[in-house]
């Protein structure tokens, strides 16, 4: 008797699970699945939760007070036009640490038609060996 009830409950769970999974099966990628609509719903819920948490903040915070001012270790604050970061300075550290790679790449990109054709010949030779011999 108890076994039968357990079987029924288990079967119900399985049915529910199958219906949910059949709904989720939007883009089956061989080993997983992806449903943008469910993702959107979850994202909206997350934003809502973040809004609620924001509501717990202190109401008596005055931004005119001294502690809201910008503090650049004593230096005067820059004007807005000077604070814009130029694009060649973004990721400066990344480019600096990968300088050796970029030297090779710059050496590769000689804007020279003969070198382009030379690369073509190189690939053609490699493909000859790969396809013709092996």
């Amino acid at each position: 008797m108890r076994l039968l009830i357990m079987k029924l409950i288990l079967g119900g769970f399985l049915m529910v699970f199958e219906t949910i999974s059949s709904f989720l099966e939007t883009l089956s990628t061989g080993s997983g699945l992806w449903n943008p609509l469910v993702w959107g719903v979850i994202a909206i819920i997350a934003f809502f939760i973040a809004y609620i948490l924001r509501g717990f903040g202190r109401k008596d915070f005055k931004s005119e007070k001294e502690k809201a001012k910008v503090f650049l270790s004593g230096n005067p604050e820059l004007k807005k036009e000077d604070m814009h970061l130029k694009s060649s300075n973004v990721y400066w550290g990344f480019l600096e640490s990968l300088k050796w790679v970029y030297n090779v790449l710059e050496k590769m990109h000689t804007g020279n038609v003969s070198d382009y054709i030379l690369w073509f010949v190189v690939i053609m030779g490699i493909l000859f060996i790969i396809i013709g011999v092996i």
Binding site: D115, L118, V121, V122, M124, G125, I126, F128, I129, G132
Partner: protein, 93 residues
Amino acid sequence: MSIRNVIAAVFFSIVAIFLIFSALMIHPFGPDDNQEKFEMDEYIIQNSQEETGADNAVTGVVFDYRGFDTLGEATVLFTAVAGVMLIFRRLKK
């Protein structure tokens, strides 16, 4: 003799070897018809005069059997003329 020329010489020689081998492997120059089977060209030679009415079988191929290639060829010339005129245009109105 820079490193570039060394790489160029090596791979150029590889390509040269393979292409010369392939040239030696194509069927010999001027095969007899018992040596090679040319079904498509034989059909054209047999039937081009009846089907296209042209004594010149090459013209029959160019304008009838493969007329679409000829359209593309004429289009290539048209394209080249348009490109030359585009590049030599006057920039002021």
